[in-house]
């Protein structure tokens, strides 16, 4: 009963040093840098994002010391605009992802808990949301309520909620059929404890992966909407808006479009890498 049952590897496992994969470290560093830039945008940016330098219009990167990443067609500093765009895009993407995940998961758990009528209503909403082209919904909402940043974030939050709702509902139902949820229920636990302490942590890995998939989508969606003039309105700027307006100068001044595009690619990739790693870390059986 004592020493035999415990292989040495298991005993050491508890104190085993965590080796961090290089890619994860790089992703963390990049996201940290992006967050830092977003928070400190006012201090880091060399110019205001609306400041014009008409003598140096469409300057290439490195052409003058004044504008390391070049300028756009109005002579605005690309680096400064990039910094403020990162702040705006991260705010929108994180905000919308979190809103979508919260709404979707909450509705999915409610559907699975109550079943019956509540479940039918939620599932009808899910089907409705999934079958409605999001662009039309966005157009309608922005046309009726006008455009404001808060509204825009909430709107993007509605983009992927039905996915979380479906996943959460399915996982909660299957968790309820498994022993551990039934066991905790018959201990006399309240639904709050059953879902909060047992079911949600057990299904969190799938939801986190789905969040990391939705995050890049929302950045791209924001870019698309901004490009259509529905998203972030000039003079405000975002990564998507920069790509959208830079498109016209693609052949003559590709740096206007390339620098925000590179930031989008690296950020979404980092979120994916980090999400995947987080999923494994949250599962004690995979240590």
């Amino acid at each position: 009963m004592s020493g035999i049952a415990l292989p040495i590897g298991l005993v050491d496992g508890r104190k085993r040093r965590r080796r961090w994969p290089l890619l994860v470290l790089a992703a963390m560093a990049w996201l940290g840098l992006m967050l830092g830039i977003a928070v400190l945008a006012d201090a880091v940016a060399p110019y205001a994002y609306t400041a014009l330098d008409l003598r140096n219009r469409l300057a290439a990167p490195g052409a003058t010391w004044l504008h390391p990443l070049g300028t756009d067609e109005l002579g605005r500093d690309v680096l400064s605009r990039l910094i403020f765009s990162i702040r705006m895009s991260l705010l929108i993407a994180f905000g919308a992802t979190i809103i979508g995940a919260l709404i979707g998961t909450a509705l999915g758990v409610l559907a699975a808990h109550f079943r019956g009528f509540v479940e039918q209503v939620v599932m009808a909403l899910v089907d409705f949301s999934a079958s409605l082209p999001f662009l039309i919904l966005a157009l309608a909402v922005l046309a009726f309520f006008g455009n404001s940043l808060t509204l825009f974030i909430c709107l993007l939050g509605l983009h992927a909620w039905e996915r979380y709702a479906r996943i959460a509902r399915g996982l909660v139902i299957s968790a309820g059929a498994q022993g551990y949820a039934a066991a905790v229920r018959q201990l006399g636990a309240s639904p709050w404890r059953i879902y909060g302490r047992h079911v949600l942590p057990n299904i969190a890995s799938t939801l986190i992966v789905s969040m990391t998939l939705a995050f890049p989508e929302i950045i791209l969606l924001e870019s698309g909407l901004s490009f259509l003039g529905l998203g972030v309105q000039p003079p405000e700027t975002s990564l998507g808006a920069m790509v959208g307006y830079g498109r016209e100068y693609l052949t003559r001044a590709p740096w206007i479009l390339l620098s925000p595009a590179v930031v989008i690619v690296l950020t979404t990739f980092s979120v994916s890498v980090l999400g995947d790693w987080l999923r494994d870390r949250l599962d004690p059986t995979l240590h």
Binding site: G179, Y180, A182, A183, Q186, G188, S190, R193, N202, P284
Partner: protein, 347 residues
């Protein structure tokens, strides 16, 4: 005045609707059909029968995890509240369940110490965290685990250790009733004996009443004070384990008991004829009569009642064993129905 028994179930019935095929009409399945049982404090009732006979459903009904369609459960003289209500939840501290699959019954993301502490947190036992941790350590020692194993996750424990952890969690609130639903069938034979010995030892120390649901007759005999044999949702025989499992009165119980292999003894097994029962299509009269080796005409028509047998007072539901009709075999008295008519010699 006699004190009310710890647990008294009267005429429990549980029906399920089952649909055959894609467009089939729903068929009513009576998983449990009029089961009554009583359990005194500190005693063990063994519930045996083949799979699908309603043993586990009876266990769930008795715990109040499901509502019976008919009948009632009284625990310590109080009627069972509806599942999920606050009084029902409060009652969980007094009655607990031990599951068949210990790995499934534990949350694999939580260390077992935290899981054993959960019933204490839920029912507000132990004001401070240190107090609860002390109780967890004591519980772990009680079930034969080391207190330092509290930090382990379920997948780091062996099957027997997991079942001990489940047992520790069930005992955390010091319940008066423990329903063990096939607690040993997922374990190795050597571990089974350990867990059963542990159950007996804990019962003698804590005075917990146990409803022991199992298909393992020898396990039931080892731990039980009374045994009830179920067939197709009904109790067909009930009595002392030595009496029921040595000298069964009901033909079904006889067939069950004869299936226990005995080394060195003549391998005289009763092979049941016919198909296993289908609860959706219950035979008329005695549900066992199509497979019964001693069935007579009345068995197909009249449902036998579970009542004490005239000779020795053992409760059995069988026309033949009750002596109401003569056994069809050659001049054998029904009360001494030890060897039924058709005994096949197994190879």
């Amino acid at each position: 005045m006699r004190k009310a028994p710890l647990l008294e179930a009267m005429g429990l019935t549980r029906r399920y609707a089952m649909r055959r095929g894609f467009l089939g009409r729903p068929v009513e399945v009576r998983a449990v059909d009029g089961v009554s049982l009583t359990l005194e404090r500190g005693r063990t009732l063994g519930l045996v029968g083949e799979s699908g006979c309603g043993k586990s459903t009876t266990g769930r009904l008795v715990l109040g995890l499901e509502m019976p369609d008919a009948g009632s459960v009284a625990f310590e003289g109080q009627p069972m509240p509806a599942p999920g209500t606050p009084p029902w939840r409060a009652m969980r501290a007094r009655m607990q369940m031990v599951f068949q699959d210990p790995l499934g019954a534990l949350d694999r993301r939580m260390a077992i110490g935290a899981q054993i502490a959960e019933p204490l947190e839920i029912h507000g036992i132990g004001a401070r965290r240190a107090e609860r941790m002390e109780r967890v350590a004591a519980l772990l020692r009680d079930v034969g685990l080391r207190p330092d194993q509290a930090v382990r996750y379920p997948h780091e424990l062996s099957g027997g250790q997991r079942q001990r952890a489940v047992l520790a969690r069930a005992l955390a609130t010091d319940p008066a009733l423990l329903v063990c639903d096939e607690p040993i069938s997922a374990l190795d034979v050597s571990i089974q004996a350990q867990v059963m010995n542990l159950l007996v030892e804990l019962q003698s120390r804590l005075g917990t009443a146990i409803l022991f649901v199992s298909h393992d007759l020898r396990a039931v005999r080892q731990v039980s004070h009374r045994v009830a044999v179920m067939y197709l949702g009904r109790i067909v025989e009930e009595g002392e384990p030595d009496a029921v499992l040595h000298d069964p009165a009901h033909p079904y119980a006889q067939a069950l008991v004869s299936a226990i292999p005995h080394p060195g003894r003549g391998q005289r097994r009763i092979l049941l004829q016919g198909d296993p029962p289908n609860p959706a299509d219950r035979p008329s009269g005695c549900a066992f009569h199509p497979r019964c080796p001693v069935a007579v005409a009345i068995c197909a028509k009249e449902d036998p009642m579970l009542k004490p047998r005239p000779g020795d007072g053992r409760r059995v539901a069988c026309h033949v064993a009750q002596g109401e009709v003569p056994a069809p075999s050659v001049g054998r008295s029904a009360a001494g129905l030890n060897r039924p008519a058709q005994i096949s010699k197994a190879a």
